[in-house]
Amino acid sequence: MSRDTARKSRATVDDGRTVTIRLAPDGRVLFHDLNPDLVAIARLLNPLDTTLERREHAAEQISEDKP
């Protein structure tokens, strides 16, 4: 894939939403819509993105135990 492409891929994730993924000109992998399951993957793909650690921390604030 070229680094200056507008091409994008769409994936449907477990909770039913559609996430768009594309390669930015600067080499980052951009996700439009980031659900909790994708944060760890996004971190692996974008090791220089300092926000992802905080996004992962935010995901941990959500309790799956409460109704």
């Binding site: 507008a6 994008k8 951009l30 996004r55 935010a58 959500i62 409460k66 109704p67």
Partner: protein, 294 residues
């Protein structure tokens, strides 16, 4: 589903102070001659008279979910996408869904309030109304706020092309305004989104909401629109609202009618992104926060 419980006294007090019942009455009666947004179409949304946005008195939601994208400080956020929009931005990434004013489920304020209460109880920090243009639904947002029985951490992701009357209705209910200041000139606003008087409306409204809650101003960098859009937007903010949080959005992708468009049908180049970042830095904008998706 969360069982309805008595709200904490301090929260209940806040809700009462906002006088939601009176506001709901004003918001709903105003739909008979709609001036919710600056299109000021005057349509009677109560009897189905066609408005440019296509909205009636009911609101629909085409998507709701937990999100970890965009503004980090608002996360985890629960997003409620309300159908219908007053703009037709050629590059709208939600266009296929949000332009249809009846897309999705009809909002039942009691049911939605219970769902949002459940999300908050699970740890959600922000309830974000998005669209479409959520500001076209002040009556519904107020109904949901009333049904919640407690003050909710509501954020509005908005194009802010709204009348002062609508902003007054939402004052105090909305805690965070995330405003997309999209165009730097009336000419670009007209050609890309089909609206008039854009610049004056935005600058008036930004001054209003800056006094009313947390304000985050975003600008999506569009290819070929650095000098005509980003530059005047950034310079105005630097001159008039220098303390406001400013976010340069770099994730533009050509969507809807921008696909195949000679000017908008590409992503921003690396040199455009670098020039834009340099401009924001040179103006000394308060741009430390991060809004992009990753």
């Amino acid at each position: 589903m969360r069982s309805m419980q008595a709200p904490a006294p301090e929260n209940n007090g806040s809700v009462l102070q906002l006088d939601l019942c009176e506001r709901i009455e004003r918001a709903e009666s105003g739909l008979a001659r709609c001036e919710v947004c600056e299109l000021r179409c005057g349509a009677n949304r109560l009897n189905g008279e066609p408005a440019p946005c296509g909205l009636g008195a009911e609101s629909y939601t085409y998507k709701r979910h937990l999100s970890l994208a965009e503004e980090v400080e608002l996360l985890p956020a629960y997003l409620v996408y309300l159908s219908g929009c007053n703009m037709r931005c050629r590059f709208c990434i939600q266009g296929h869904d949000c332009f249809d004013p009846r897309r999705g489920e009809q909002v039942n304020p009691d049911t939605l309030a219970a769902e949002l209460g459940c999300a908050i109880d699970r740890g959600t920090k922000t309830i974000t109304f998005i669209g479409g243009e959520p500001g076209l639904h002040p009556h519904t947002i107020l109904r949901v706020a009333e049904a919640a029985g407690r003050r909710m951490p509501i954020a509005l992701k908005t194009n802010l092309y709204l009348t002062p009357k609508t902003l007054d209705l939402l004052d105090g209910v909305v805690r965070v305004y995330v405003v997309d200041y999209k165009f730097g000139s009336d000419r670009c606003a007209k050609s890309l989104a089909g609206i008039d008087r854009y610049t004056g409306v935005m600058q008036r409204n930004l001054r209003i909401v800056a006094r009313r809650g947390q304000l985050i101003i975003r600008h999506l960098l569009m290819p070929g629109h650095l000098d005509c859009c980003l530059r005047p937007v950034a310079e105005w903010i630097a001159d008039n609202l220098p303390a406001a949080d400013f976010r340069l959005m770099e994730g533009y992708v050509p969507a809807w009618r921008a696909e195949g468009d000679a000017r908008l049908g590409r992503t921003c180049s690396a040199s455009e992104l670098a020039e834009a970042a340099a401009l924001v830095r040179s103006l000394g904008l308060n741009a430390k926060g991060e809004s992009d998706v990753t």
